[in-house]
């Protein structure tokens, strides 16, 4: 099979800007991976091509790159599939990370964030339970399957606009320790994870869930961290208030009230109240502000009963 492979080449020491270089390959076998193709280019066509790889079997996490527009492990992506899908293969380095050369990116900031969440257990003082109880395996919801490849970080919408955001990989790792029954600092952890650049900055775009090669679902881990923070009573944050306000409105009316929601969110902060007023007035003039009080939906008693039953079961 002939394959056209375009690879982004860039040496910051000599090149002004990255450029795509095109290679024509004879791919011997349909089962060849994009990583095989990169090795073939390196051996036959361009010895200067730089990329990371090690295990070649989707275990070490060294080879994530942007293949035809999406973060993938090169060793897990078949040349034939990509050719079928896009007619050619375009390979670029991970996004949101500084390129060292070609497809190799700087990972220090990535590891810095993983370190920032204290990626090890701080056991409870009473240490009877040293072994991990069997029944919590499922309780980690697969976050322990993470191979730290960084694909999710490259795809993250919040990181793109706020580089300080802890990001999906580090937060998924953080959940692993919050969920561990042996951990002694759960509340401390949730408090610091709820701070600046923490769990409340995720925009819930699902990119991390989509690109993760190990089905870690980092966003689901972040949602669980938020739930745990609420359960710990850490509700004094706009993100937490968003959830509690939203739920209170749905309980009362059965659906969201977009007039009351923003007001309830910023109340009683006068400065923030004043900031939303001009927009509210312009929306009102366009007929975009719904009534302050909705008539609850028919059957609202069923909804309220569901909410109240959950409240009392807690």
């Amino acid at each position: 099979m002939r394959a056209t492979v375009q690879v982004q080449k860039f040496n910051p020491e000599t090149d002004a800007a990255p450029r795509l270089r095109e290679y024509q390959l004879d791919v011997a076998w349909r089962g060849n991976t994009v990583l095989d193709a990169l090795f073939q280019i390196k051996h036959e066509l361009d010895g200067s091509l730089t990329f990371r790889a090690s295990c070649r079997s989707a275990i070490c996490g060294s080879c994530p790159m942007v293949i035809n527009g999406r973060e993938r492990l090169a060793c897990q992506t078949l040349v034939a599939d990509e050719i079928d899908r896009c007619g050619r293969i375009e390979v670029r380095p991970l996004r949101q990370m500084r390129v060292i050369k070609d497809l190799a990116v700087e990972l220090d900031p990535f590891w810095g964030k993983v370190r920032a969440i204290t990626p090890y257990l701080t056991p409870k003082p009473n240490r009877d339970a040293v072994a991990l109880p069997q029944d919590v395996e499922g309780g980690f919801h697969n976050v322990d399957a993470c191979i730290m490849c960084g694909a999710c970080v490259s795809a993250c919408s919040s990181l793109e606009v706020s580089p300080g955001f802890l990001g999906p990989a580090a937060l998924a790792k953080a959940y692993r320790f919050v969920a561990d029954p042996r951990e002694g600092r759960t509340r401390d952890r949730l408090e610091s994870l709820g701070g600046e650049h923490g769990i409340w900055d995720c925009v819930r775009c699902n990119f991390c869930v989509e690109v993760c090669p190990k089905d870690v679902k980092p966003m689901e881990a972040i949602i669980r961290l938020r739930r745990e923070a609420l359960r710990e009573g850490l509700t004094d944050h706009p993100g937490a208030r968003h959830i509690t306000t939203f739920m209170a409105i749905v309980r009362r009316e059965g659906r969201l009230n977009e007039a009351r929601m923003p007001v309830a969110m910023v109340w009683p902060n006068l400065r923030r109240m004043l900031a939303i007023v001009p927009l509210g007035i312009r929306m009102f003039l366009k007929g975009k502000v719904p009534a302050w009080f909705h008539r609850p939906i028919p059957g609202i008693r069923e909804i309220r009963r569901l909410f109240d039953a959950r409240e009392t079961s807690k």
């Binding site: 900055d201 749905v250 502000v289 028919p298």
Partner: protein, 294 residues
């Protein structure tokens, strides 16, 4: 073609023009809508953050209502579509979760058997109405109008809950724009996040996301954007001026709800489609298309 019509909160709240245009377009295309007036909010992914089973139960109640009518659910909101599809998948594939949820609903005599399908209006247009029928129904070609599609996260990801489009390279909006005679703009922002879920808690981040996509569409020469999600619409339209101010530029980009764009091509008037309700005037886009022929 009959559906249980799940309007979502936005179409009944800040985006009445979405409701109005969807109902009119459906009528013209022979799509029969049986509105689910007693359905609750899907929770928008927010209720799930507070309590996962509660969110499943609220949505199972909605599905049970459609199940009783024997109808598939039609949504007009990308976020509702994503949240409902996710809940429905869990309820269909995880019998333990379904039993738990049915036990929560039992005191009111409600049970969901797991037989309902949920479809966004966009998918109904493509799969059930069909592009050829749509093409024939066009009264006013959108020729000359350069339209930037903006999908929104929830109608694309996670793709295993959804299904119609390749999440990295979706084509349904593009096919639709072309069928209506319009010219589609290609840009990387089309599959990105509008930022809306953060707009009340971290406005600068939200504005940066919506602003990036809008500015990119503008740079590619778009006359307007179109989105199948009213929350994206709010982010891109209501917050556009603020996003522009944050970037130091005037974006001036009209944004259509999906049914509004279809309605224009079907010959509906600006009034029918509620175009005056947008924060960013649509005049610039309207100037590009001819008046309807009968």
């Amino acid at each position: 073609m009959k559906y249980a019509f799940y309007t979502g909160c936005a179409a009944k709240g800040a985006c009445p023009e979405l409701y109005q245009s969807a109902v009119k377009v459906a009528k013209l295309l022979g799509i029969e809508l049986d509105e689910m007036t007693s359905a609750a909010c899907c929770g928008a992914g927010v209720v799930r953050e507070g309590d996962a089973d509660l969110s499943l139960a609220i949505n199972a109640r909605t599905f049970a209502q459609a199940e009783a009518k024997g109808l598939p659910v039609l949504t007009i909101c990308g976020t509702c579509q994503g949240v409902l599809a996710n809940a429905n998948k869990t309820l269909k594939e995880d019998p333990a979760a379904r039993d738990r949820v049915n036990a929560m609903l039992a005191p009111d005599g409600i049970a969901y058997r797991g037989t309902v399908d949920v479809k966004h209006f966009l998918w109904v247009l493509i799969q059930d109405v069909g592009l050829s029928k749509l093409r024939q129904a066009v009264k006013r070609s959108l020729a000359g109008l350069r339209v930037a599609p903006f999908y929104g996260c929830y109608i694309l990801r996670p793709s295993k809950d959804l299904g119609l489009d390749d999440p990295n390279n979706p084509t349904s909006l593009e096919e639709l724009i072309t069928a209506l005679g319009g010219e589609r703009i290609d840009y990387s922002g089309r599959i990105k996040c509008c930022g809306f879920p953060l707009v009340l808690e971290n406005e600068p981040m939200a504005l940066a996301m919506g602003g990036n996509a809008t500015a990119e569409a503008k740079g590619e020469g778009a006359d307007c954007m179109v989105t199948p999600c009213p929350l994206c619409h709010m982010s891109l339209d209501i917050y556009q001026e603020r996003a522009g101010r944050q970037r130091g530029e005037r974006l001036d980009m009209p944004v259509f709800h999906l049914p509004q764009l279809v309605g224009l091509a079907l010959g509906l008037s600006e009034q029918d489609l509620g175009l005056s309700r947008h924060m960013v005037p649509v005049t610039k886009a309207m100037g590009k298309i001819a008046s309807p022929t009968s």
